[in-house]
Amino acid sequence: MTDFTVFPDANGHFGPYGGRFVSETLFAALDELSSNYQRLKSEAGFQAEFDDDLAHYVGRPSPLYHAKRWSEKLGGAQVFLKREDLNHTGAHKVNNTIGQALLAKYSGKNRIIAETGAGQHGVASATVAARMGLECCVYMGATDVARQSLNVYRMKLLGAEVVPVTSGSQTLKDAMNEAMRDWVSNVDNTFYIIGTVAGPHPYPQLVRDFQAVIGREAKQQCLEQAGRLPDLLVACVGGGSNAIGLFHPFLTDESVEMVGVEAGGDGIASGRHAAPLNAGKPGVLHGNRTYLMEDENGQIIETHSVSAGLDYPGVGPEHSWLKDLGRVDYTAVNDDEALAAFRELTLVEGIMPALESSHALAYVQKVAPTMSQDKIIVVNLSGRGDKDILTLAEIDNIRV
């Protein structure tokens, strides 16, 4: 089996994917970030500060919860939920922003910028900025600003400037373009906190490393609670940070199967989806080579998902590689299946999942009944659904 622990290579490649496809001006900044990170990650002081923040500020470890009632109803495998929704700020995103804000501090940068889709990463960035007294500017597609108004207001309350991006399709990908433009213009004093495992090297590596706490905890908790490793891991994949965080510590455990669930939108056949690993092909965007949704001329096409956090035409390069190697299976579920899973978990377990995480739950709903009752599924409940209440209410024709 491939030794997954040694990747990416020195130039940031995961097989043919990843790398650094950026304009010349950013190279020095990426080199500086790489060398700072390589140095700091092995320093006991940095790691201790990170662990301490995760324990006392984020509230880790997050529970691994055996959803007995739901498992029973599904009539097959035992389903365990990794409760990232219980983290401070309500999602896994904060694991990464804590880590990167520490990098910013140790690198002497006093301004941070971030891109955000659903607003969870923006809120997590604004949160750490507030706590550390850093200036914070969050780029958000104008379309997303409109459909995630609660998170926009949260960011503003936290003292961040939210800049609506009106270029291109006015969604997450355009917010990322704009953040890159800001970074290139203010590279001396600014630290760019990328929210997912995409972007130029070393971002896919360092975001993965910060999120891998999810999988390390889940592994230990599963051994403690069930006395053995899980049979199947399930996580939703937009950029793929919560999925890689859960999967990575298990990659060398051959008995553990893994499924990443992309946003099928109106269905893969409709073309209105956000599932590059299911229906895209390799290309170059946002500083890395990876699977993309593009047209015949290489233009990036607009994506569609009920969940703003999965509405992205690319995916982290390590996922592209894991797909090609066959180590992880990638599937997709549609908007309506995700919405049904949201309602199901809310009613059966009293836990309201984020619409992103609901994609992973929808797949569990399909696969668990096909497995025997002694099998164990760990699914990453990557965020809580409070932010999606207005979306749900609109679908239900209810005025909140």
Binding site: N11, G19, R20, F21, V22, S23, E24, T25, L26, F27, A28, A29, S167, G168, K173, D174, N177, M180, R181, V184, S185, N186, V187, D188, P282, G283, V284, L285, H286, G287, R289, L292, E294, E296, N297, G298, Q299, I300, I301
Partner: protein, 262 residues
């Protein structure tokens, strides 16, 4: 000898500076591009840089972003851009033309197929903003094989060591990005640019042209003192999109730039 090298060395011999004009293929509409390329040549432009429309032009400021969006409304692709060049070449076989764009539209065609089509269209050089030397060994080998010049960017943040490695790979000319920022950004510090350029000139003979932030005859003249030529993009693109009179205004700007350099 390549058309670029040939033309730039003639300029050097004559003691003149190169004026390089950037426009986006198909902006503000496809009918404008080829006739305006001929106008640019008539008004004294030495080399034309054709921007290839892309959905995610990460290195561009607002002016050129909008130009990409306008061209994409007409669905202008990399192949359409090469078709425009082919049409231009029917009556101009001397002016060097390069394309400036992003990696993905080239990747979709495939590096080898792209090079074949580019040569057939009469292209002279390629500048791919997001394809640095670290990622372009295969592409560079093909460009050399097809005798297409590889135009490389150098920036204020490029280290001396890296600049040397890039200069070894580059051909045609080196494109020095005058400031930390996107295209069309504000002010250039001439002294800073001069110091950087002098340092680069110490280890390479490839002509060095400066771009980003040149807006008029005056800034062109001041920068040309320290470089072999200047690249003007946003200022031309901005005027070109201004309705019926845009073409005329853009043409006068080019005349002003030429006068500023001479």
């Amino acid at each position: 000898m390549s058309r670029i090298k040939n033309h730039l060395s003639e300029l050097t011999t004559a003691g003149r500076k190169a004026l390089i004009a950037y426009i986006v293929a198909g902006d503000p509409n496809p009918a404008v591009t080829v006739p305006f390329m001929h106008t640019l040549v008539e008004k004294g432009v030495d080399l034309i840089e054709l921007g290839v429309p892309f959905s995610d032009p990460m290195a561009e400021g607002p002016t050129i972003q909008r130009a990409h969006e306008r061209a994409l409304q007409h669905k202008i692709s990399l192949r359409d851009t090469l078709a425009m060049l082919r049409e231009f070449r029917q009556s101009n076989s001397t002016t060097p033309v390069i394309i400036m764009g992003y990696a993905n539209p080239i990747e979709v065609i495939g590096y080898d197929a792209f090079c074949q089509e580019a040569v057939a269209a009469g292209l002279d050089g390629v500048l791919v903003v997001d394809l640095p030397p670290e990622e372009s060994a295969d592409f560079d080998a093909l460009l050399e094989q097809y005798e297409l010049d590889r135009i490389c960017l150098l920036s204020p943040t490029t280290t001396a060591e890296r600049a040397k490695a890039i200069a070894e790979r580059a051909s045609g000319f080196l494109y020095y990005v005058s400031l930390k920022g996107v295209t069309g950004a504000a002010t250039i510090n001439i002294e800073e640019v001069q110091a950087k350029i002098d340092a680069i000139k110490a280890f390479t003979d490839i002509p060095l042209c400066v771009g980003f932030g040149i807006k008029d005859g005056d800034s062109a003249r001041r920068l040309a003192r320290v470089a072999d030529g200047v690249v003007v993009g946003s200022a031309i693109v901005d005027l070109l999109s201004q309705g019926d009179t845009g073409l005329m205004k853009a043409t006068s700007l080019v005349e002003e730039l030429r006068a500023g350099l001479d």
